[in-house]
Symmetry: C2
Subunit: 487 residues, 2 copies
């Protein structure tokens, strides 16, 4: 089912034709289109989960939950459209007395045009055909062309089919959503003149290759990639002493969740040297956890090589292995020390997708901080500390390296809310934006300012009679009217 | 005075050391630092204008005005810091009853780290050492390293000296502002590991080269470049008939302003065929306008070659030339027709820096629209129409191609306000952001979300007791308290 280049041209032409209809669609209409997709996917949950489980082995409970997360995400973005803050509507009235006289200026964000979305293997719903990138690109007022992940082709096709039917029934234009398949078509997609921005979730190597294609275009486009993350965790001596056992249980649950195939999997855990109770508790818990089949052949092949690369380091030892499972990946915990991490970060801090984590023993703050300085940009960083601990310097180092900093729990849960941040310094992401949560919409918008425009030629939202319905700024002052729609 | 690579390393180390101090500076402190620079530059206006006029020939009236614009811009960004919306403070309270239970999340934007600024030749104050890129990078909480433009080295040094003294006196850290010189140092700057983002205003070729270096880093950084723009103008038959003479006067004033060296210079003007009165009025006005010396040797050399490239096209003719001025560029108006533009945009629609504009005759809407589809991304697009004109399709085409759409006046004035947009599709800019106006600050910020953080470890702005002072969102609802600081 590989998409040919002539087929891609047709798909791009349809997206181009749909773009003005999405861009100028009224908020209520656009929200209805997005909600129609959510409703249709909810209604098809049984069928979709069955296909997804066959293709990904992620289990029906997890997959059923993921459908709910995905449709909830679509509905959040419909709410974001209706609430209207995302437009950043801004008006400065004319000031003829200024030097020089100031014209009237009205600014709004508008859809950037057709968006390419490269879906991920590990979230076949939430980061795939109708996942967060697609939802936020639609909410911004753009048609979407999705490159299906080869790990779940049948699910991708069926999801697209259901979404397209729902969009058509709701009155959305042809070209609102298209699916392409094949690596060559994907490379052509990110270079296609019709495409104005791209979203991606996947590996560092694959993402970097597409980033380079996007940046190398005659007209470079923004490429929003989420590429890789080791998600450091720091346990203070106080926390290890006070609740080492609970932390160990939490860690084991988190690094083996989804067979370790979460972008936010805690991949490196800094533990005070001598916190033997914590390490023992991990060693005790792991053998009771089984792994399972990994998502794709590529990940299945890469996992043992990743383990070997770590285990071959002279400063690395095995702490414990999980239960064996036929044909599946076996969880494993390794350990090393902070000096080795600071010295060889390129070996010891490379993301290894699958159920593995590395415990790093540190001797005091200086030793810890030297190692933290070697940690690459991550989606998350977690600090388990007690109230009496002095963690200011540690926190500063973690915050510099991550987009989300946790003080309780484990990073593998990602709530889809207004305040979520799923993105961090390179290589976690390629941009200063999030791919999860309401503000992901900003990635697919561009600003336009209208100077001295007659009211009839302004976008509807910017006309005086409609401004009150949305949060807006007038002459420097942010205004949230009583009749602004609640989210 | 070329900066050596060891010197650059020292400068980068000082900026890195200053970064946490800028990032965590309280709003009032940071605003005071920025205002101190504005005050010091205002106080030094006489001295600075004298140097600037000697180096750029832009004239003391214009340059004096530009100092005022620049210090006003610094003060606007101090206001933006105090107002606080730019933080996008967002809180979602914990919801233990949700499935899965939702943690508390608090999101804020923080400074990205040391910023590189490449200054422009044509605005030696407003787009130079303490120009908009520097002002917005400081406001975002970042130290700045400026690459001086070789067109005004003495002014750059003196401006930096004054700004550094003002910053030091106001208590800002060492490393808040540094100046480097030389192309090699500039190339190294955009590739330096310490630099987290870059702003640039200049030529397409120079900007593209730096963009490629930024994108080619092992850890790519955002490169916000403003590269080139032809700024299309459309005159409808109705407008040409109703006010052709006034439009002609306006055009001539605009394309020759600053000897045609504005990024927003109207470079191509679509005029209905047969609007002879308009063309005649242009032809009559131009000979009365003199040019003057151009900014740099490079621009001086490029101007006649640019004219020749246009004039050599078989479909191009000369309409009028301005007054000769010894050693200066002579204004010139050329004309062609829409069919030629649609066929050879790479020749006829390339930006030519200096006092030249191209009138394009069109026969009806289809002819006009075919040519407009060939117009590359621009900072501005201007539509001169009468109320009775049907301009919907024309406007849609212009809006797709520009970041600011004008319906009166001429694009060469750029008000520095909350609602300004100075940026457009490639090659106008390399990003979906503006380099002028309040929202330019977003370029130099990255989001961080704190999950279940103890209040004492949160950034001050995100603590409950401080949230009321700034516009913020809580549980999806935007809140502007009565005691939020006015801008």
């Amino acid at each position: 089912m590989t998409t040919t280049l002539p087929e891609l041209d047709e798909i791009a032409a349809a997206a181009t034709a749909a773009a003005p209809l999405w861009r100028t669609s009224p908020a209520a209409t656009r929200a209805a289109w997005i909600r129609a997709v959510a409703d249709a996917l909810d209604a098809a949950t049984d069928e979709l989960v069955e296909i997804a489980d066959r293709e990904t082995h992620l289990g029906t409970t997890r997959l059923r939950g993921e459908v709910g997360r995905t449709t909830g995400q679509l509905r959040l973005f419909a709410d974001v459209v209706l609430e209207g803050s995302y437009l950043e509507a801004t008006v400065d009235d004319a000031d003829p007395s200024a030097t020089p006289p100031r014209p009237e200026l009205r600014r709004v964000l508008v859809g950037v045009g057709p968006v390419a979305v490269f879906s991920a293997s590990n979230f076949p719903f939430a980061f795939s055909v109708c996942g967060g990138d697609t939802a936020s690109a639609w909410a911004a007022g753009n048609p979407v062309v999705v490159k299906a992940h080869s790990g779940h082709p049948e699910l991708s096709r069926r999801t697209a089919e259901i979404a397209r039917a729902a969009l058509a029934a709701a009155g959305a234009p042809e070209g609102s959503l298209a699916l392409i398949e094949g690596r060559e078509a994907g490379n052509a997609l990110v270079q296609h003149p019709a495409i104005r921005a791209a979203g991606f979730t996947g590996s560092l190597s694959g993402g970097r290759a597409l980033f380079d294609l996007a940046a190398g275009r005659p007209d470079p486009i923004p490429f929003y990639g989420e590429l890789g993350s080791v998600n450091p965790v720091v346990v203070t001596p106080g926390a290890a002493a006070a609740r080492g056992d609970a932390l160990a249980q939490g860690l084991v649950g988190s690094f083996t969740l989804g067979v370790g195939q979460f972008c936010t999997k805690p991949g490196v855990v800094f533990v005070p040297r001598g916190a033997d109770a914590f390490v023992d508790a991990v060693a005790t818990a792991v053998p009771g956890v089984s792994g399972g089949p990994l998502l794709t052949e590529r990940i299945t092949d890469a996992f043992p090589s990743g383990i070997d690369a770590l285990a071959d380091d002279p400063a690395v030892a095995v702490v414990a292995r999980g239960a064996e499972s036929a044909g599946g990946a076996q969880p494993i915990v390794l350990r090393t020390d902070a000096a080795a991490v600071a010295e060889r970060p390129e070996t010891l801090l490379e993301e290894c997708f699958g159920p593995v984590t590395l415990l790093v023993a540190y001797d005091g703050a200086d030793d810890l901080h030297a190692a933290l300085r070697a940690v690459p940009g991550s989606l998350t960083a977690t600090l388990h500390a007690e109230e009496a601990d002095d963690v200011d310097d540690t926190l500063a180092l973690l915050q510099e390296r991550a987009g989300r900093v946790l003080f309780a729990g484990w990073p593998t849960g990602v709530a889809v809310t207004w305040s979520q941040q799923h993105g961090g310094p390179w290589p976690a992401t390629t941009s200063l934006h999030t791919s999860v949560g309401a503000s992901a919409i900003r990635r697919f918008l561009r600003p336009v300012t209208f100077q001295d425009a007659p009211a009839r030629l302004l976008p509807a939202e910017l006309r005086d009679e409609n401004l009150a319905a949305i949060p807006h700024r007038r002459n420097g002052r942010l205004v949230v009217s009583a009749d602004a729609r609640a989210s």
